[in-house]
Subunit: 360 residues, 2 copies
């Protein structure tokens, strides 16, 4: 068996120890005689798995006690609808900051449920930076301010936390959750699909300050009413049990590896290897403002896009997969989430140098 | 390793060959160097897995070409909202037949989006039968007629297909899908959570006649707009990839074991073992009308419910788990889905006899 270096933007590479443990426990979890997949979500075994996953996530992110942690379904794209349904709280609209394709999707969906104020947008600059906070035109009556903390396609990341005063800050953290410490108390609601830094797709994490829930619009589907789910420990409907189990194994792996502070060091080191090389080369380029570059997703272009196919073919031959950029922007993209080892990034940079030498 | 007999109502026991294959392929699917969990849903490997799962499901259920097969999230409880959102098609209301806790949940949720006509209800008889069709008061202007084809809690199942004329028939088949052949062409839409007869929780199957979609209410979340998902091969958002892979393995197992006709023989034989014994005993009883008894979920009570705890303890000691009935009805429940081997039911009946002999 040869494992590849998988640079997919998500679903994405997972820690090998997590996969090994999952394989070992597949037919018989801890002597229960059952796979986790087969367990009733109401049984003592799964309730313990679920509670442990929540406990570890609370510990890793230092989530304050007045926040609910929910394990739901529907992905971040689902939450684009369920956030306004749950958080409008009688208000007419919400503020959105537009930093790329994902925040655009969020604000477009929110427009079905409320008036949307685009408080700031990086679109004119082709989404290569995060608008400085002093340029944001916030509405003091907004129900919340929504950001996408890391744009997976554009490779743009917030390296600071916006100050939204008494208006709750909502963040789609799908692609940088758990990559470094965040101060959860600065947020009203954090959501994210699990398929980048956590586990299998089909699991959606929602972390929400408890005073913000309980006023969902009457049209909110019960399975996505945050109060209903909070009151039922995320089990108003059957949760994605196996995905929660894998998430718990990943949380344990993160903890064993030093938690989020250590993960930040690891992720900064990997990103520096790539960006430093990109900046030293005239053959490759990354268009993002230095202070807003993503530690998770590194898009880059070759000097001549006629070479893209050859670059990708050579990468595949060397066991480096999924480096093709998103179809909306072209070029390349290396997603280097928590579980991407530094050796994967070193191998990529070595190959990029080799390719530049032979095609530059 | 000792595997138990797991009578859980769902998530439920899965075929052991499926679990073995999943364990073997966990770190490296077919020489790809990746777990299925790690694969981009846009990559050629996962697209092949997804297409194969759909092809097998179409083959097993003989799904006509004018039906879309969608692999979504949110469970049947999610669909309770998304069905009216998608299928009202400008009409004011829908018909619901109430045969138990699950159909009650469905019609209550639908009431958020439209007027609900309860065309028939078995509630007066404590949900122990399916109302005969000649008693149904259908509204000819209804957008659709909704049934729950098998009530997991009450153990009541339709053994016939309602005739709703030109009004589309919608069925929540969560707990009996794939247990026997059905004529899909008689339905407008079939939906179900995967966690009984298919695979892990977190995957929802929707089979819908293509002329019924495309008129979703404006409030429908994009991720749950059936037309949007159909136009994107269920990949408008990231689908629950690993659950789809396991579902595909289960579909392959079903095909290798003779498909749904063989499954019906297997399931009838298992159910007969249990019901025949229940009917021969005065110590146990099942309250459901004989012609409406579920082949999947067999609820029963002991003569004296003070013996319930001893019964459950003895069952656990013999490796038979999750026999406790739903909290809303008490007593016992044996869920005997496709993957429950006949030996599991034989072991249960043997234990029931033994328990009756010593406590009767």
């Amino acid at each position: 068996m040869t494992r590849v270096f998988n640079f997919s933007a998500g679903p994405a590479t997972l820690p090998e120890p997590v996969l090994r443990q999952a394989a070992e426990e597949m037919l018989d979890w801890h002597g229960s005689g059952m796979s986790v997949m087969e367990m009733s979500h109401r049984g003592k075994e799964f309730i313990a798995i679920h509670a442990e996953a929540e406990k570890l996530l609370r510990e890793l992110m230092a989530i304050p006690a007045n926040y609910k942690v929910l394990f739901l379904q529907g992905g971040a794209i689902g939450q684009n609808a369920f956030v306004p349904m749950n958080l409008l709280r009688g208000k007419a609209g919400a503020d959105y900051v537009n930093t790329g394709e994902w925040s655009k999707k969020s604000l477009k969906e929110a427009g079905k449920y409320c008036s949307v104020n685009v408080a700031a947008s990086a679109e004119a600059g082709h989404f290569t930076s995060v608008p400085k906070q002093d340029s944001w035109k916030l509405d003091p009556n907004a129900a919340y301010v929504h950001i996408c903390s890391n744009e997976t396609i554009g490779g743009v990341e917030y390296h600071w936390t916006p100050d939204t005063g008494s208006v709750p800050l909502v963040a789609d953290m799908s692609s940088n959750i758990l990559s470094r410490p965040v101060d959860v108390s600065r947020y009203g609601l954090i959501y994210g699909g699990a398929q980048k830094n956590i586990g299998p797709s089909g699991l959606t994490i929602v972390i929400v300050r408890d005073d913000l829930i309980g006023q969902a619009l009457p049209i909110t589907p019960s399975a996505f009413d945050l109060k209903t789910q909070a009151d039922n420990d995320s089990m108003y409907n059957t949760p994605p049990t196996y995905a929660i189990y894998i998430a718990g194994l990943t949380f344990q792996w993160l903890k064993s590896n030093g938690g989020l502070a250590a993960m930040e060091v690891h992720n900064r080191a990997k990103a520096a290897l790539l960006y430093d090389y990109l900046d030293s080369s005239s053959f490759y380029r990354n268009p993002v403002a230095r202070e807003d570059r993503s530690l998770m997703n590194v898009p880059f272009k070759l000097r001549d896009d006629a070479l893209d196919a050859a670059f990708l073919k050579g990468a595949e031959e060397r066991g480096m997969l999924q480096l093709k950029g998103h179809r909306s922007v072209g070029g390349m993209r290396a997603s280097i989430y928590n579980a991407m080892p530094v050796d994967g990034v070193k191998a990529l940079v070595a190959y990029m140098k080799e390719f530049e030498a032979s095609h530059g």
